[in-house]
Symmetry: C2
Subunit: 253 residues, 2 copies
């Protein structure tokens, strides 16, 4: 079982149609949830016969093909959860995370702290539900809030920067959005979510760090939008951790 | 279905043995989860016959008896959740809540914000996982942390007071504890949790407010301890809201 996030089921189906063997020895199943799409590959008729061993070999090849085609979107496998994968990457690199949540209401930090030992990489989280909280706790400038609105790329960026620098963490992660059912408008509908990531660089030079803000539009009820937003935030962090680790490994050879 | 929190299943069984009719017309079922014990009362053989109508009447009497006997522990019924009940009570009384979480890691605020419209009574929450966060964000005195430890009644009280006053909320709710599996000791085992409640009074006189700290010892794995601690915190808040509402109603007659 391979867990993906960020690609719709139909697209995964299309992607995999061309790479999976049409031998009838491997069955493909897709399970969709607010956490993403899980890909279940099953070998059919596995036993000690030659045909059975062939099915196992075909399964291994199929898994390899799926991994290559969907590398960017696969975040975990089997019983692994996103919060375990992200936690392990933070721990491996001895990075401290601080989180600023608005519409996810604490869910991101709750998920991260479900993992034993998470106190070694989760410093703190603030849930700034009100605008006043965003100003007071994070120092988001009032004019930014007024000009762009609390749900905006600018505020997400300011929140991520603020939790990282104010709390002296290595990485700041932020979410601001509209979980609904109320509070949406034509320009900013329910489900609109901005996620910010702000990582310190190796030097004191501000330009050396990494800043990213992404816009998402999620569907579903309040609970589902919160869950999807938390998953998107953790996945953005996971991808960044993966890319920079790959980068530094390449750099050190 | 009546949902209770705070009494073990065996005790509920004992309490109800004496009050439930032994007519065979009402069946009692108990469902235990980390959120408490749910009491399921079922009338047997309900139809339009005299005996069937008698079963319905017996069910109503049984429900009444259970409600009276377990009044303090029943927090919701049917599909209602604890966070809906607490939210409604906060909204009715136009009270603003701020939360300081340590071992629950954001779960309390996550649960509160699952309810649509919760932004009208949830101001903000801070998850102060590290001691540094407790000092910096909440102003918990370092010597209190050192003398009593982060998991102590004194720190729970300081956290609840700090979120209420610093963030100018009406009520401060705090949790500090050891969710495990590591971090326990003989004196402070895994599952030890302190919950603090700090409510503003009607006057500026500090003595006019309400302060409460409770100690709990929960069993189970990390996820279960987090869930139980969040439920205990919300239930402490619910009981206080209920008691003071009843009090002010009596006062106004």
């Amino acid at each position: 079982v391979l867990h993906t996030f960020g690609l719709p089921e139909a697209e995964i189906d299309k992607e995999l149609a061309s790479v999976l063997p049409q031998t009838g020895l491997v069955r493909l199943g897709l399970l969709t949830s607010p956490l993403g799409v899980s890909i279940v590959l099953t070998a059919i008729g596995v036993d000690n016969s030659r045909k059975g061993k062939g099915a196992m070999a075909t399964l291994a090849r199929a898994e390899q093909a799926v991994r290559e085609r969907l590398r960017r979107w696969i975040y975990a496998e089997g019983d692994q959860t996103m919060e375990q994968v992200v936690g392990q990457a933070l721990r491996d690199r001895r990075l401290m995370l601080a989180v600023a949540e608005s519409c996810t209401g604490g869910l991101i930090c709750h998920r991260l702290t479900e993992v034993p030992g998470s106190s070694s990489y989760v410093d703190r989280s603030v849930v700034t539900y009100s605008n006043r909280a965003k100003v007071e706790l994070l120092g988001v400038p009032e004019d930014v809030l007024q000009r762009h609105g609390a749900v905006s790329a600018e505020v997400a960026a300011a929140m991520a920067y603020a939790v990282r620098t104010r709390f002296r963490a290595d990485i700041g992660l932020s979410v601001t959005g509209i979980a609904g059912p109320d509070g949406g408008s034509e320009r900013k509908p329910v489900g609109l979510v901005y996620i910010g990531l702000d990582a310190a660089g190796h030097s004191n030079d501000a330009a050396d760090g990494h800043r990213d803000v992404r816009e998402f539009r999620f569907h579903g009820n309040r609970q589902i939008i919160k869950m999807r937003a938390s998953q998107a935030a953790l996945d953005l962090l996971r991808q960044w951790l993966q890319d920079t680790t790959a980068g530094s490994k390449r750099g050190s050879t």
